[in-house]
Amino acid sequence: MTMRFPLFSCGVFAFLLTACAGTIDRRIDPDENDPVGGAVLQSQDIRTMADRMARDIASSGVLTSAPRGERVSFHITSLRNDSGDPIDKEIILTKIRTELQRALGRGVQVLDRSAEGLEAVQQERAAKRNGSVAGRESARGNVAGSDYALKGTIKSRVQQSGGLKSVYYLVTFELTDLETTEIAWSGDYETKFESEKSVISR
């Protein structure tokens, strides 16, 4: 009996220690698996996808094929979500644009064709032209036209049976020649998730 009491006490103490353990917020690597889970595109997918697409486009040479002294221009049009999960498309497009600019530098012209971007340009140009604000004469010019447009689609295939589910994502990007409609480059990113439902949720 005397031996059992310390053992029991230790057990209870260990249990209380575990139960009273505090929670913490900590920084984690965005390339790691998300500990929260969820069979959806995660930070590591977005980073890998953007990095891969930017490298692939850069190495294809499509955007660096302009004659000496000229620069190829392009803009990102849209990302259509055909999948079964809503997603913030801006986060993907912004990341890709950043990676592309990083990979291509000033060798290409990346144009802002967003509604807000165009409106800001129009307002500023008008203000400069009518003398409301100062502007450099040498910086005057036409709004740049685009040689290529980059667009993408997110598709998914979900299979579900009982307590098992798998989700396959296919994100495809295409670079379209805006003179000829030729698809000058395409690339994709694939990932697949498997989930098993706990008995308490079934």
């Binding site: 929260v36 889970g37 969820g38 069979a39 959806v40 259509r80 979500n81 055909d82 999948s83 079964g84 999960d85 809503p86 997603i87 498309k89 979900v158 579900q160 589910k165 989930s195 098993e196 439902k197 706990s198 008995v199 308490i200 949720s201 079934r202």
Partner: protein, 369 residues
């Protein structure tokens, strides 16, 4: 008041109820016309509800202890309703593709019900996914979704759901440029039944509003048609594996309690070591029985409607005065619930409005996708 309560619960409430609280808060924001806030909250709730990951500790606690200690992820009909609201908020944001993604997510959530035959019977989500496909220019996809909506409606009606055969909204498919969505009544209540309260069951809640008549610029343009009977969706969930576990726990609780009581009774009659052993074991069993929680988890989304209905109207572009007149099942008008709104129909595209059969509501935002 409900929104303030929900906000407080998000800060200091139980983490396992977060998705439930977020959904209620999102509905409040929707009613106040704050669709972006509503989208954020519905999105956060949906992420929790759609996440299948469960820790071993959580599963152990829910099985051995109280089931309501687990993270609330909602029943399939609740996941489908979260997807419905989330889709609408994306539509109002001008993103029909993300709206369609949400409706597809809801269709998939509806397929999580245990009884396979009820796995694709939410006509509302199929119909909305069809309309979103059209907005995206995907006519073939739209046709497929509309066909599924017809099948879902016919199936649901055959199996006891409220609604109309030859539902004019489903027949009209892509008709109308003003889409009036109406939520009628109060959604089902989940309660515990059985001797040990181990069974989770649903019962409808009474509300006078059964459907709505829509008036545009003083002219009656029709009555809404039921596309989703939420009561029916809840009661056709089918059994769950947890229900089997709770039944087992109920048997265990009964057996240990009875055995414990018998042993204690026997101990009182006996003497010496035998009586002491019987008292210890009997007391232990009794305690184990009393500590075994068999109650079903009856947490549910209490602010859902009993049904979602729709009417599509061909209206001239511009501003209109829209009146929603809620009706009892007998057809008698409910003047206390009358709502008059100013709505706008765009030159191109469609407008979607959502109304709820509650008194004193303000106007919902418009959408011009």
């Amino acid at each position: 008041m409900i929104a303030d309560f929900a906000r407080q619960k998000i800060t200091d409430g139980d983490a396992e109820n977060l998705a439930l609280v977020l959904n209620v808060l999102a509905q409040c924001e929707l009613m106040r016309g704050r669709t972006e806030d509503a989208r954020k909250y519905f999105g956060e709730a949906g992420a929790i509800m759609g996440n299948w990951q469960t820790s071993g500790g959580e599963a152990f606690s829910a099985i051995v202890g109280s089931e309501s200690s687990k993270t609330w992820k909602g029943d399939p009909y609740e996941k489908a309703m979260n997807a419905f609201y989330l889709g609408l908020t994306y539509l109002w944001r001008g993103e029909p593709d993300n709206a369609r993604a949400a409706f597809k997510k809801g269709i998939l959530a509806d397929a999580e019900v245990a009884d396979e035959k009820y796995q694709a019977d939410n006509a509302l989500l199929f119909w909305l996914a069809g309309r979103m496909s059209l907005l995206m220019g995907l006519r073939d996809d739209a046709a497929d979704f509309f066909a599924e909506a017809d099948k879902a409606n016919a199936f649901a009606l055959d199996h006891g759901a409220r609604g109309d055969r030859g539902n004019p909204v489903l027949v009209g498919r892509d008709g109308g440029n003003l889409v009036v969505l109406v939520e009628c009544g109060m959604g089902p209540e989940k309660y515990a039944a059985g001797g040990q309260e181990e069974l989770a069951r649903f019962r409808p809640r009474w509300h006078p509003a059964a459907r709505a008549r829509v008036w545009l610029d003083g002219r009656a343009v029709g009555e809404t048609s039921l596309l989703c009977d939420v009561d029916y969706q809840a009661r056709t969930l089918g059994g769950t594996e947890m229900e089997g576990i709770r039944k087992g726990k109920a048997v265990f609780k009964t057996a240990t309690t009875v055995a414990g009581a018998v042993l204690l009774h026997q101990a009182m009659k006996d003497h010496g070591d035998s009586a002491r052993t019987q008292a210890i074991v009997g007391g232990g069993l009794l305690l184990l029985g009393l500590l075994t929680s068999t109650e079903a988890d009856v947490r549910h989304w209490p602010t859902l409607p009993a049904s979602v209905q729709a009417l599509t109207v061909d209206a001239a572009p511009g501003s209109h005065r829209l009146r929603i007149q809620f009706l009892e099942a007998s057809g008698r008008a409910l003047p206390d619930l009358d709502q008059t709104w100013s709505v706008t129909v765009p030159e191109r595209g469609e407008s979607y409005y959502l109304f709820r059969s509650l008194p004193g509501l303000d106007r919902f935002p418009k959408a011009n996708p």
